[in-house]
Symmetry: D2
Subunit: 425 residues, 4 copies
């Protein structure tokens, strides 16, 4: 209670001046001052464990020392901050490093497009080029997909509240069932039938766009064999496969690209969020050379040359020089998964279900509103964690990948106490 | 010739790794290393005068000392870099400063929305809220408008090459003639007739969206009385007026908002580019309180909390504490205009026409391709300037607002020499 | 008053059983029993002069003796009534006769498509084939156009009440100003500018569709030179010209096709209404052979083989064997025009304006609702005449072409008396 | 061979003058002269058994004597042929008779709309009113649905060839799997999940439109319990249920409305084809009074008052005064079904499957092209029967309902011989 009153005083400027659209400052009503690694502190010096990682944009944690140093150096030397797609050294070095550390070792051959510095920008560019090269207009997306909030990306986003916000009907897309969408049904059989039947009412699409793990949609992880089947389907029908790895990529599931363990090779890959290393706006679209049929400037965007982001992005790639980073993620993913399963057992009244893959996991809770109450309680106790899913029914665990076991366990302890507290009420 | 060969060697990484969509690195084939104020230097230490200002994102010039200092301090103190719409001190201080220095003195009452850090994001959010609050789907935009490259913004963008890149038909919008679009015709009479006639085939729109000066469209400045008439029309028909001030705002035409001298009060204003002060991605949407009917999170975006941008943005507002900045822009605009008129007289073979307003001016040239050749020659001679217009027929002058007379004259001299050289060939 | 009460009793079945969508039985609340030539009689044996001609479907008048005989013979001989697009003798003979009497003498070369028996069907088929052969999606239509009520045709129909009835936004069309739409403006200059400017926001269309005289839109007759200019524009830009001659064709304006005096040769022509001779449902789409790129059955419709209509249609073509019919229409059009001008002079309070061409004329009246009152009074006095225009502000004269001078004058006398009566109130 | 050559001579006019879109005159290359009951004769006096019934428009057979007499009487008496929605005696008498014989005995309460005389017109009107009264834009339709060829109806039609003919993307509709669409899957579970999940990507629809038996789609009969489940779903989610009974209605499946045995009560019913009794163009839309929210003339059509059709339609209703007609259909449906099953057994190489319900049955044949060859052979032998299904893989049996056992058996014998002949080649 006391906290809430103080909060309101602190939050006055946001409440009075910001649009009603603001959301996080409602659920976490404080002013954050500092952050390092997996911790944040607010202006009252209260410490928080971060199980949110800037909605997946801070896989490498807050304020990495090396990234900070390189950014400061660059600023001190009057390096170009903003450069559209003009040539600059940070852009050049990011490209070269990305090829060396990421593409070449994985035997991937992609052209790199800088479509503007946000997730929705890379998705919009992916949809455009897929439609252009195929000459088809329909794109298949999936139930509970989230790809962004601009009209092109929103058209392949499934959430009804978000879609309704468009104010217009959203066209040129078809929503198909994601893996394990309907109990005891074979979603692949459905999709295949719609593609192969001339009388299905669904035109041959330009592309299929998917997240391998649906973050906003409720931490739904597609099985690797399901991904493989979708990939085969795309090849059989000459459909482009777009993997939106904005949230699941950059190591979130354990490998740099989330699709690596499925052994597939998408035609287009969307990256944003953690690609910028330290949380600065950046996005890239990877396009197989044979589909890179853009005219110069056919898609553009003022902020597609964010050099501070390129510097941090290049630094972040250092993590991928060896397997160590990847292995550590896997180990921590195991700890997280064990903890979720333990909670499910310990609190049968949650009727909980474990979701997700890697350090992108969730705890789905049946009772309406309960997940939100637990997150609110966790915030009071010093843990930043949010919900996702169509009814905000999933507690979404997205700690920075660099979190150590101590931090992970501390966060999980707060979670456990929060659940206990909420259930006791 | 020699330069071109050298360029190619320098540009190898971009040519090999980047998508064919890249554009500026084709026209200006070098690697830029440093920038300060209105000057840039490439890795060969060649100096360039900047008549481009990051496509309007660098109104305050490159690497302002005070902004640099404050950003470095913040980084050194481990301030949150990335915070979505969580409360942070830079966000709070920007909001308060913006109210104090910009809104209150102009007697403007707007809610501030952070829609994601790019121009297209603010436009998409403006279109959404206008459609939501009116319950109508059509938006009227103008010939030669440019509002962005994601599907919603692209639907109100007029350029056929850009529109074609969508790969899908663009809906829910109607293109009307901008001021002075068709010789000897009254565009206002035309638009009014379409609005008032039940048989016009154009539905009552949710909104009219416009740029007061069309940058990408060819530096077309609407007359102030035309803006006033459009504003009256909106009021009479209960249509929301959206001013996209992404490029023309933040002082570009002499006042903070480009619409101030027209004495109008738009329902929604889109700002981006120079709002971020130093060229970091940032955008805001200003919405009259009565139209701020968003649900929490109904529009969002990962990078809507770019704290380094907030810090530079707050610092940039200092320029607006007195009238001095505005007056200086006016004075330099006069010099620029005189120079353009002088060139038109001096080179009658250009059949040139002066365009624009404030430090957002253009020189339209009839002969196909000539404007581009002049800009290419200017680049060789150390001036960064680009073309705009549906056929790239306009040389577009967009110097940083902080340029001094010496810089302005130096740039104009290079321009003159470039024209002379090109015409001589 | 007495009549109204009786009417209600008569109209009980329609009022109770029919949908609220019914319209003519509201304005003319009686039950019609018989009709011949230009006269109708209701069940109370009241006689009416027909200035309506079944909304233009009865150019040859009611119940032509020869058509009746041939239809009865066919029925008596068990001829196929309904045959889709199977071969039948009436279909064959109509085709041959149409070529001989209509196409060949006018040096026109068209393939004949039977798209289903209604006006909206021929328009839908025209739009489809234009889009298919050009590979473009946009169609330009005009302010106050009426082309039909199914979604494709409604998309090129301008009336806001009708469009709103769609319940969905209508796409892939652009509304341009018809001839003389905005006072003192040059509509052709507008349209040309939109076509030639790469930055107009209007894509190169598949087709331009127009009525030479807009019946539902208010009897607006395009000038012949305007039609010529549109035709030239289509040729210059490789756009298909579709003339919707559903109402203005079949002699309504004096020539078989309404566009003949303009000396143009449309790529596609839509005919329906009076093509069926006696008022039976029938429609054809005429397509230049080079654009007839349909696959078999790519457009179809159950009732595209209405043999009774083919029989009456063939018989109707007899009127076009010589020039006499055409000349007689011209003569009567002159009488009608003189009468309208006389009324305008006689009743200056109407502030009337003469509209239209041939036997498709109108009297536009400023005062809201007045045109409707005059038509209601005319009905009471034995004249069937309706309004048109976006605000029902035009009295629409559409007598059967076979009307004689006596009938025309009798109808005009009732009109004059009705105006006098209404103005006296 | 000889026949084909002769045919070509006969078909010259159609081949030269008609559009390439013509279809039936290709498959049945002759000129039909006479028809009575279930028989047709061509100009060479060859007799054909009719298993086609004018694509379902001739349920009551060709040229019913009573209908002929009443039509001739009406013509002789100069009755109004064409009357839009003005009051006429045939319209009144049809309405009263329809209520008395069809609606009242079935305890159905519908307003009757005359939307224009074709199937696509009634579907377009149904979609419009459903969208208007719900304020929603999406309509759910089914795989292999056929609802018409104008853009609104085509948007809910599934066939890819037909859809592609639109030349534009078709919007505001979602295709869901029909009963038994995917082997071993539960289509109802799938649809329900899409409706109940806020994250499904499918908006709450205005309506679900379906055929109880899909004629063009391959004679797929939905199970009655499936229809019941869809109906329940509509009620639960406040979605309007539209039954398109254009082909399956008017007794085709044994009851007047095809949905009667399912015990459901649709909100809107579309009727056309056989409603006109003798094959004249006619259509009606039945709307529950609470949804009849049309404005006068909000949907219209010139030929919505086809009085000859009303006369035949009224006469046709006589068949429904007792149960006899319905029982006879059931009996003949049994004979037809037995015959199909016998053929499947007799010719295992067909790998045949029986489809359909009532006198709307089909024989699905695996081998590509075989069904078409059998129908071509049957034509040579004097049987008119066509194919349907997405790949024309189903022989479609649609005899007039008034066929007698002798006729049915004669037709089935020709079919058997045709199959034998084709398989022998």
């Amino acid at each position: 209670m006391t906290t809430a009153v103080l909060s309101n005083a602190k939050m006055k400027t946001f409440e009075e001046m910001e649009s009603a659209v603001r959301s996080y400052s409602r659920g976490w009503p404080t002013i954050f001052e500092k952050a390092k690694g997996y911790k944040l502190w607010d202006i009252d010096e209260k410490e928080y464990i971060d199980f949110f990682a800037g909605a997946g944009a801070l896989n490498y944690g807050h304020n990495n020392d090396m990234m900070q140093e390189k950014m400061i150096d660059y600023i001190r030397n009057d390096g170009l901050i903003h450069s559209l797609d003009m040539g600059t050294t940070p852009r050049k070095e990011f490209l070269e490093r990305f090829k060396e550390v990421i593409l070449t070792p994985r035997k991937l051959d992609y052209k790199v497009m800088f479509p503007g510095p946000t997730g929705t920008n890379t998705v919009e560019s992916a949809l455009k080029i897929a439609r252009k090269v195929t000459g088809r207009d329909t794109v298949i997306s999936f139930t509970n997909a989230f790809h962004g909030m601009t009209i092109g990306s929103l058209s392949v986003t499934a959430n009804s509240f978000k879609r309704h916000g468009a104010g217009i009907p959203l066209h040129h897309t078809v929503s198909m069932p994601f893996d394990d969408y309907v109990e005891d049904q074979d979603e692949i059989a459905y999709i295949e039938k719609f593609l192969e039947d001339n009388g299905s009412g669904v035109a041959l699409p330009a592309a299929i766009i998917l997240e391998t793990v649906q973050g906003e949609g409720g931490m739904n992880a597609a099985r690797l064999e399901w991904l493989k089947k979708i990939d085969n389907m795309c090849k059989r029908w000459d459909i482009l496969l777009i993997v939106d790895d904005v949230q699941a990529g950059c190591g979130r599931t354990g490998t740099f690209f989330s699709f690596e363990p499925a052994g597939i090779n998408p035609d287009i890959v969307c990256l944003s969020k953690s690609i910028g290393g330290i949380g600065l706006p950046m996005a890239i679209t990877l396009i197989k050379p044979e589909y890179d049929k853009w005219g110069p400037g056919e898609h553009n965007g003022t902020f597609r040359g964010n050099n501070l982001a390129f510097i941090a992005a290049r630094e972040a790639l250092t993590n991928w020089e060896t397997d160590d980073f990847s292995k550590a993620i896997g180990q921590k993913a195991g700890i997280l998964n064990d903890a979720i399963e333990a909670i499910i057992k310990k609190y049968p009244e949650l009727n909980g279900k474990a979701r997700g893959r890697g350090l992108m996991q969730g705890l789905a809770i049946d009772t309406y509103g309960l997940a939100g109450e637990i997150c609110a309680e966790a915030f009071e106790r010093g843990l930043i964690v949010e919900t996702s899913g169509p009814n905000d029914e999933v507690i979404k665990f997205l700690p920075p990948l660099i979190i150590d076991e101590k931090g992970l366990n501390k966060g999980l302890k707060i979670l456990d106490e929060s659940i206990k507290h909420v259930l006791a009420q």
